[in-house]
Symmetry: C2
Subunit: 367 residues, 2 copies
C-alpha cells in the first residue's frame, strides 16, 4: 500500500521531534511495510514569518489531499504581537475546522516506568489509562459573534459565543461510547449544565444517545469543575471522558500532566467517516506544546511525536502491526532506562532527541 | 458594635455546618465581641421545595439589608428535574449578581497537619498558599444571549455568551494586585487569548492596569490550560491567580483539591466599596459543595463554614482579633489530631460535625 502524508513540524521543538518521525518513515518503507509519500510544509509562526499567514491556502489543499496530517506544535513568545488572525494558533484552528476534525482523542496514560515523574502519589497514577474525547470544531472556539467592540470612553466589550447544535453533540457522544466499548465500558460526560444552556443540551443529548444506541455502556455525568477535582483526587475512576472544546482543552491538559508522561502523549483528531470509502480525515499531534524554552537545544522528547505516527499507522493506515512494533520499541527503550530530560528521575542520566530516535530505530532493527 | 447577618444554610450538609456557626455567633456575643442579629432563610433546593423559587424576593431584600451573608451550599440530585430558572444554583447566582459581588476570593491553603491528605506528593503542597481571585458577576455565567432554540427536524441549538467589558476586568485586576501587595507580590493572570477575544481583552486590560497602577507587583500571564497544568505540576509557583468566572470555577476547585484540605477552605465574594461608607456587600461560603451523599449523617466537616465566618469577622466587621482567635482555635484543634472523616489519615479516629464544633468552642474557652 501507499499513503500520502503531510508533515507540519511548526514552531519551537516541532521540527526537532518531526525529524525523528521522518527517519521512522524511511525505516518502515525499507521494511516494506508501506510506501509513504510525504510533503513537508510550514505552519504557525514559521509560516507567518515566511508567508504572512499561519497556514497558506496551498498547504490547506495538501492537507485535504493527504491520508493523514502529522502536526508538531505551534506558537512562542516571538509571535505574541502578530495580528490576531495570523497568530500561530490560527493555523491549527483552520486545520481542525476546514478538515472537519470534530473528534479529538487524547489518551492520558501513565507509563509505569515514569510513574515517579508524576506530581501525584504513585499509587494514584500507576496504570492510569484515561481517554479524553474532546469536541474540536465547535463551542466557544468557533462560535459567532466573536468580537471586540469599542464602546467609547475607554471602554471595550469582548464577546465570545459558545454554540452547540444537537448533531455536533450526538456525533462526539457516539465516538466516546464506541471507544468505551473497546475499553472499560464507561463514559463520563462533563459540562456545566447548572450555569450553561449548552451544558444542559449537552447533558440531554448524551443521555439520549446513550439510551437509544449504547444502553450497555455505563454513563455517568459530572459537572466540569467536579470532574477537574476528581481527576486530581482519584483519576483511576475514569475510563472515557467526553466534553466540549473548551472543557476538553483544560481537562485533557490536566489529565496529561497527572500522568507525569506529558512528553509521551500523542493525540488524534478525526473527521467523519466518508460514507463511500469509510475513510476519515485525520491529524495526529503530540499533546505537548512548542516548548520555546528548550527549542533548538536538541533535548526535546520525540516520543509523543513518534507515538502520534503510531496512532496514524493504526487509525488512518490500517497498519496495526507496524504500530504495535513501534509501541514495543518504545516500551523497550524506556525499560532500558533511556530518558530525555523531561522524563528522567532526579540524578538519572539523560539523552537528547536524536539519541532517543536512534534508540527507537535500534530497537526496531532488533525486533 | 452590632451587625446584621443573613444565614442561608441551603441544601445537603449546609444546615449541619451552619449550625456550628450559630453556636459560634452566640459565643462571640457572650464574650462581648459584638452583637450579631441574624435572620435565617431558605435558599436553593430547600427554597424551591417551600416556595417554588431558588430564592424569594423577600430573602433577597434581607440580603441587601445585611452587613454580610453567610451561605452554606446548594443543590443535589433531588432537584435535577426542576425547571432551569428554579434550579438550586439560580439562588446562588442571583445573590452574586444582584448584590454585585464581582470579586470572589478563594484561598487554597494546605494545612501542614493535612498535607498527607493531598493526592500530590507532600513536598509539592506543604505550605501551599494560593489566592484565586475569580471574577464572579460576568462572563459566560450571565452573558446574553443564553438560549436553547428548536431548529426543527430534531435539532436544537444552545447558545451561551461570554461577555466582558473593560471596567469589569479593571476592577477585578485591582482586587488581585491589591491582595498581592499584602502577600508575596505576584499576580498570574490567566485566560485563553489564543482562542478567545475576551481572553485578548482580559490580557490587555490587566497589562494596562498593572503598568499604570501597580508596576511594583510582579505580573505574569499564563494560558488557562497551561495554568491548570502548572497547578498540578508545581503549585507553589503561584501567589495570586486572577481569572474570569468560568476559568475561576475550574481552577479554584482544582487548586482546592490539590491542598487535600477541601473541607477546610472558606471563600469571600465582595462587591464594590460604597463611595461614602467604604462598606462592601459581602457573602461568605465554603468552597465545598452540598455533598448530598453524606448529608444528614452528622459527619460533615464544619471548618470551611467556620472559616467563612472568620473571613466575615475580618473583612466585613473589622473584627480581626476575633478572626485570629478563631484561626488559632482551628489550628489547635487540628494539632490535637481531631479530624472529621474527609481530613483523616487512613486508620485515624474521626469525629462528627457537632463534636468538631464542640472542640472549637472548647479551644476558644481556653484561649
Ligand atoms: C494551541 C491552542 C489553540 C490549542 C487549543 O486551545 O485547542 C491547544 O491548547 C490544544 O489543546 O491543542
Ligand atoms: C454551584 C455553581 C453554580 C457554582 C459555580 O459554578 O460558580 C459553584 O461551582 C461555585 O464554584 O461556586
Amino acid at each position: 500500500p501507499s499513503f500520502k502524508l503531510l508533515l507540519l513540524p511548526g514552531d519551537g521543538i516541532g521540527p526537532e521531534v518531526m525529524a525523528e518521525v521522518k527517519r521512522l518513515l524511511v525505516w518502515f518503507e525499507k521494511r516494506g511495510v508501506a510506501a509513504f509519500n510525504y510533503d513537508e510544509r510550514l505552519v504557525g509562526g514559521s509560516s507567518y514569518d515566511a508567508d504572512g499567514v499561519a497556514i497558506t491556502d496551498a498547504t490547506m489543499e495538501l492537507a485535504h489531499a493527504s491520508d493523514a496530517v502529522l502536526f508538531g506544535a505551534v506558537g512562542g513568545p516571538k509571535w505574541d504581537g502578530v495580528p490576531y488572525d495570523a497568530r500561530p494558533e490560527a493555523g491549527l484552528l483552520r486545520l481542525r475546522k476546514d478538515l472537519g476534525l470534530f473528534a479529538n482523542l487524547r489518551p492520558a496514560i501513565c507509563y509505569p516506568a515514569l510513574a515517579d515523574a508524576s506530581s501525584l502519589k504513585r499509587e494514584l497514577v500507576e496504570g492510569l489509562d484515561i481517554m479524553i474525547v474532546r469536541e474540536l470544531t465547535g463551542g466557544v472556539y468557533f462560535g459567532e459573534p466573536k468580537t471586540i467592540t469599542d464602546l467609547g470612553g475607554g471602554q471595550k466589550r469582548a464577546i465570545d459565543s459558545q454554540v452547540y447544535d444537537t448533531f455536533e453533540i450526538e456525533r462526539i457522544a457516539r465516538v466516546a461510547f464506541d471507544l468505551a466499548k473497546k475499553r472499560r465500558n464507561k463514559v463520563t460526560s462533563t459540562e456545566k449544565r447548572n450555569v450553561m444552556k449548552s451544558g444542559l443540551l449537552w447533558n440531554q443529548v448524551v443521555t439520549e444517545v446513550h439510551r437509544r444506541e449504547f444502553p450497555e455502556v455505563e454513563l455517568e455525568h459530572q459537572l466540569a469543575d467536579a470532574c477537574g477535582m476528581q481527576l486530581v483526587r482519584r483519576p483511576k475512576q475514569f475510563d472515557v471522558i467526553v466534553c466540549d472544546n473548551l472543557f476538553g482543552d483544560m481537562l485533557s491538559d490536566i489529565a496529561a500532566m497527572l500522568t507525569g508522561s506529558l512528553g509521551m502523549l500523542p493525540s488524534a483528531s478525526l473527521g467523519e467517516a466518508d460514507p463511500v470509502t469509510g475513510k476519515r480525515k485525520a491529524m495526529y499531534e503530540p499533546v505537548h506544546g512548542s516548548a520555546p524554552d528548550i527549542a533548538g537545544k536538541g533535548i526535546a522528547n520525540p516520543l509523543a511525536m513518534i507515538g502520534s505516527l503510531g496512532m496514524a499507522l493504526r487509525y488512518s493506515f490500517g497498519l496495526g502491526e507496524a504500530a504495535d512494533l513501534l509501541d514495543t520499541a518504545t516500551a523497550n527503550v524506556l525499560a532500558k532506562g533511556l530518558r530525555t530530560g523531561d522524563i528522567a528521575a532526579p540524578g538519572q542520566a539523560t539523552i537528547g532527541t536524536t539519541a532517543m530516535g536512534d534508540a527507537i530505530l535500534a530497537e526496531l532493527d532488533a525486533l
